[in-house]
Symmetry: C2
Amino acid sequence: MAMQTAEKTPRDDPPGPWDRPADEPCPIRDVLDRIGDQWSMLVLSALWEGTKRFNELGRQIGDISKQMLSRTLRRLEQDGFVRRTVYAEVPPRVEYELTDLGRSFMVPMRALVVWADDNHAAIRAARDSYEG
Amino acid sequence: MAMQTAEKTPRDDPPGPWDRPADEPCPIRDVLDRIGDQWSMLVLSALWEGTKRFNELGRQIGDISKQMLSRTLRRLEQDGFVRRTVYAEVPPRVEYELTDLGRSFMVPMRALVVWADDNHAAIRAARDSYEG
DNA sequence: CCGCATCCATTGTGATACTG
DNA sequence: CAGTATCACAATGGATGCGG
C-alpha cells in the first residue's frame, strides 16, 4: 500500500466514510452494524472477565433469550471476536472466550463505556428537558 | 476472571451492566441503543467537520433518505449531541452542529473508528474463513 | 429549502417447544 | 447442558408525496 506524507496524522483524523471508495464498505459502519445490536456489547463485556459457558453467559446478562445469545455468539465468532470450544463430554460443555481481536476491540470500546458512564446523567437530562 | 494487578484503576475497569441497580438502565446500553443505529454515527462524523445544513448533510452521507436524516438528527438533538438552529429566512435555513457533549463523545468514538479502520481487514478475513 | 406523514418491505427480538 | 426450529410481533429503514 502507498505510504503517505509524514505530516499527516491519521490517528487523530480518521477519514469519514465519504472519503473512501464505495466498493469497500466503510469500516466503522461494518463494525457498528455488528456490535450495535442489542446484545453483542453485553456479551463481549461478560467475556472480558474471562472464559464463560453458554448458560453462564445467559445468567449473567440476565434478560437475554437463549436464541439471541446463540445468534449473537455465532456472529461474534464469525467475525473473529470470540472463540468457541466444544468439549466432547456428557453433559456437553461449550466454552466461549475472547480472541486477541476481540480483546483488542474492547480497548477502545471500554473507553466508550467509561464515557457513557460519565455522561449518562447529562444525556438523560437533555432527553428530559427536550421540548418537541 | 481476568488477571489484573491489585492497583485500583476504575477508568480501566468500568462495571458491567450486571453490576448496577436495575432501576437505572445501563449507560452503555442506553448510549449504544442511540448511536448503534445505521446513521447516527455517520451524521456525527459529518458534523465533526463543522456546522452543516440539512441537505448538505444528506449530500455528504450520500445514501441516506430525507426521512432518516430527519429522524436521526432529531434524536441526536434530543439526546443533547446536536444543536439545531433555525433561521427565519426565505428560503428557510437550518443549521446543525455538535454540542460540547457531542464533541466530547466523539473523542472515544473516534478511537473506535481508528480501531475499525485498522482491523477491518482482519474482521473480513475471519468472516470469509468462517465455516458454518 | 426543510422535513413531516404515510405506506410498505425488511430485519431484529422474544416465547415456546423440541433435539442431541 | 447447549443449542435449533418455528411463529408472531415490534422496530427499523426506504420511497414518495405534501406542507411550512
